[in-house]
C-alpha cells in the first residue's frame, strides 16, 4: 500500500483525477497537490502526494551522463 507510483493526470473533476499509470487508468484524490491535466504525480494509497518535475528529471539524466564522461 505504501508503494508510490508515478502516473499522468489525464482528467480532473474537483479533487478526483483519472491517472494513467503506464496504460492502467485509476482514480486518485489530488487534493494534496495542485495538479493539472498533463502533470505527472506520485500516488500513494489513492492520494497524489507530490508532482513530478520533468525538467529536473532531464537534469538528473544529463548529470549522470556528465559524471560517466568525467575523468574521476
Amino acid at each position: 500500500m505504501c508503494l508510490g507510483i508515478p502516473g499522468k493526470v489525464i482528467e480532473k473533476k474537483g479533487n478526483v483525477a483519472k491517472i494513467d499509470f503506464g496504460g492502467l487508468i485509476r482514480e486518485a484524490n489530488v487534493s494534496l497537490v495542485n495538479a493539472k491535466v498533463g502533470d505527472y504525480v506520485i500516488v500513494h494509497a489513492g492520494f497524489a502526494i507530490s508532482k513530478v518535475n520533468k525538467r529536473e528529471a532531464l537534469k538528473t539524466i544529463k548529470l549522470v551522463k556528465e559524471i560517466i564522461e568525467s575523468k574521476v
Binding site: 508503494l3 506520485i42 492520494f47 502526494i49 513530478v52 529536473e56 538528473t60 559524471i67
Partner: protein, 361 residues
C-alpha cells in the same frame, strides 16, 4: 526519458565510477520500495562487486506495526465492527491467525485502496466501520485531510497506527548496533517532510545522507553521492530526487498532519518504545478516533507471542542487524504461503522481497 532512468548502460557507468574508489562501505536504506528496486534489478550484486553493501532498515510501515495493534483491529472485527484495511494487512499473522482468517469465519473485513473508499463504505452501511490507518508521512496526510472533513458519516472511525518516520531512524542510530557509512533516505516520505529535518541527523550523528528516488538510476546515483561525501569528508544531506522532493516538502500535507495528529510514544516491531513517534488523533477529532470510542475493547488487548513467533527475527531484520536469510525459518517454515512474521507478508517486507527475487539471482 523515463526509460533512461532504467538504462543499464548508465547504471553500469555510475557503478564503474563508484568502483574506482575501491571502498568498503555499509549503507542503509529505509524504504521497502528501495529494496524492491534493488532486488528487481539485481543491483545488490552489482554493488557488492564494488564493495558496497546496502542493508534494509525500518522502512516497511506494515512491518513496524506491532502485533498488538493488529490484535486490536482483530478484536474490533470479533466485536462486530466492519474493519477496513489496506490489502497488505490482510495476511499479517498474530498467534497464527490473520485478518483473512477472520474474514473466512464470517467477520466483516474489507480491503480498501484508499481512505476515501473506507468513508464510502461507512456511508453505505449502518454498521460501525473502523479504518486501520497505517503508514508514515506518505499516507498520513490522506487520513488527516479526511478527518477534518465535516461531512464524515458518524459510523466512520480511524484506528491510527500512523508513525513519524524520523524518530525510528534516530533510534536506530542511537542503538548503534550496526556501523553505517551512509543512509539512503526515503524519497516519498521526504516529498512530504522536505529535507530540512535530516539536518538534525547530520548534526547529531555526522553521517552522510542522500534522499533518493526509486528508479535504478536514482539509487546508483544516490550511492555515488554518498561515496563522494565519504571521499571528500564532507557530510551533507544531498537531494538526488529533485524531481519530486523540495526543501520544504508538501506544506499543505504537513499542515493537515499537524492539525489532526499529536506525537505520542509507541512501540515499533523490533524496537523499544520510540518517544513521540505515533501520530495520535487530537481530542478535537476524537468522535472518529477508534482508540477513544472503543477504548473498552482496545485497552483489554494483550499480546503473548506463540513459541513460533518468538523465533521470528523480523525485529532484527527491521533494524538491519541480520539479513533475512540469516533467519532459520526463512523460506522453510516461513514462506510466502505461510508467513510467520509481517516481514514475509508486506510487499515492502524485506523477507518477502528477498524470497520473491531469490530465484532470479
Amino acid at each position: 526519458m523515463w526509460n533512461e532512468l532504467k538504462d543499464s548502460r548508465l547504471i553500469n557507468g555510475i557503478i564503474e565510477k563508484i568502483g574506482q574508489y575501491k571502498l568498503k562501505l555499509t549503507l542503509m536504506h529505509a524504504c521497502g520500495t528501495h529494496q524492491e528496486t534493488l532486488s528487481r534489478y539485481g543491483l545488490g550484486s552489482l554493488f557488492s562487486k564494488v564493495g558496497v553493501t546496502i542493508k534494509s532498515g525500518p522502512g516497511c510501515p506494515v512491518c513496524v506495526t506491532t502485533a498488538k495493534e493488529f490484535l486490536q483491529i482483530m478484536r474490533l472485527a470479533e466485536k462486530g465492527k466492519t474493519v477496513a484495511i489496506y490489502g497488505d494487512c490482510l495476511r499479517v499473522p498474530v498467534n497464527g491467525r490473520a485478518l483473512m482468517h477472520f474474514r473466512a469465519e464470517g467477520y466483516d473485513v474489507r480491503i480498501v485502496y484508499s481512505i476515501d473508499e473506507a468513508v464510502e463504505l461507512a456511508r453505505s452501511l449502518k454498521n460501525d466501520v473502523v479504518f486501520m490507518a497505517i503508514g508514515f508521512e506518505t499516507t498520513a496526510p490522506s487520513t488527516a485531510s479526511t478527518l477534518v472533513r465535516d461531512d464524515l458519516p458518524k459510523n466512520f472511525y480511524v484506528l491510527s497506527c500512523h508513525r513519524f518516520f524520523l524518530p525510528a531512524m534516530i533510534k536506530l542510530l542511537e542503538l548503534g548496533e550496526i556501523k553505517l557509512d551512509g543512509i539512503i533516505e526515503p524519497g516519498h516520505v521526504s516529498a512530504i517532510i522536505g529535507y530540512k529535518p535530516y539536518e538534525e541527523i547530520r548534526k547529531r550523528f555526522k553521517i552522510p545522507q542522500v534522499i533518493s528516488g526509486f528508479e535504478p538510476l536514482d539509487i546508483v546515483l544516490s550511492v555515488y553521492y554518498l561515496v563522494k561525501q565519504i571521499i571528500e569528508d564532507d557530510v551533507k544531506v544531498v537531494n538526488e530526487y529533485n524531481r519530486v522532493v523540495s526543501r520544504e516538502g508538501n506544506q499543505l500535507a504537513l499542515s493537515f498532519i499537524n492539525k489532526v495528529f499529536y506525537p505520542k510514544d509507541i512501540e515499533w516491531r523490533g524496537f523499544p518504545i520510540i518517544s513521540s513517534s505515533l501520530m495520535a488523533i487530537k481530542e478535537k477529532y476524537s468522535i472518529h478516533d477508534a482508540s477513544k470510542q472503543f477504548e473498552d475493547i482496545i485497552s483489554k488487548v494483550q499480546y503473548d507471542p506463540s513459541p513460533l513467533e518468538k523465533t521470528c527475527r523480523c525485529g532484527e531484520v527491521l533494524r538491519g542487524v541480520i539479513h533475512p536469510q540469516a533467519c532459520p525459518l526463512f523460506g522453510k517454515v516461513c514462506n510466502l504461503e505461510n508467513p510467520v512474521g509481517a516481514c514475509m507478508v508486506s510487499v515492502e517486507g524485506a523477507c518477502r522481497i528477498y524470497l520473491e527475487y531469490s530465484e532470479l539471482f
